[in-house]
Point group: none
């Protein structure tokens, strides 16, 4: 018993697959986002000011980005001189 499977059917299959993969990953991301919220809630429950904690995290991230940049520049120079 032969099946007729059109090209668009195949494309639809592949689209579904991509969409599913993204949705699974986004579900995971949502879980983590929820976890982060819970950490802040716990901090709040301990009497800390959440917006201030968020600011610290943000500042440290900025610092890290800058450090990463500097590091990769160093690595570039080093590779440039064959180290």
């Amino acid at each position: 018993m032969s099946e007729v499977i059109s090209k668009t059917d195949v494309a639809a299959e592949r689209i579904s697959a991509f969409v599913s993969r993204v949705e699974r990953l986004e579900a995971d991301k949502d879980v983590i986002a929820k976890d982060i919220k819970e950490v802040y809630l716990e901090a709040k429950g301990s009497g800390f000011d959440v917006p201030t904690l968020r600011k610290i995290v943000a500042l440290r991230r900025k610092d890290k980005d800058k450090r990463d940049e500097e590091l990769s520049l160093l690595e570039l120079y080093m590779s440039a001189i064959g180290m």
Copy 2:
């Protein structure tokens, strides 16, 4: 040899702990975000239009959100008028 541990020391410990936990979770989240990007890149490599795929994912999320609101307008009206 006794140690003097001030309240602010203790608070500093706890702040550091909260910040570390958040940073670990955010690192995980970044990994997933990167994975999602890779899926879209792969789809693009297969000849699919990424913005369209993103729209599909977004619309499906909206639909789901609406479904999750499992109180229908009708039911709301009915409860509002005491049925």
Copy 3:
């Protein structure tokens, strides 16, 4: 009698003007917000459940937003697979 009017003076004037305009509009908005509250209060006085009424309004707004998105998922799929 000549006046010395610096650029910063001019800028200050214009900033004040923008701020005033915004503040006037926000005052108007506050009046309307108050009106809305009064409608709900009146409904409550008539024995209706305010949170439910709010939900109805919110749901109807969502529906409208969705309708305004007149691209259906199907059409997106079709364009995505090149039909």
Copy 4:
């Protein structure tokens, strides 16, 4: 020809009326919100920084003491963890 008009019909009528009134008011509010946006856009077109203007408007509402409080709290936390 007599009509049977139930109590729930009457209630439904009144609910519709309340909902309509709210929706009209919210439409007005949306117009004003749009106007405010336009003011900011115009300011931007004149070379002013919109977030700063927004801050001015917000600050004029806010209490200065609270601003100082937020700032000193941030500094306290940061010094606590040695930043």
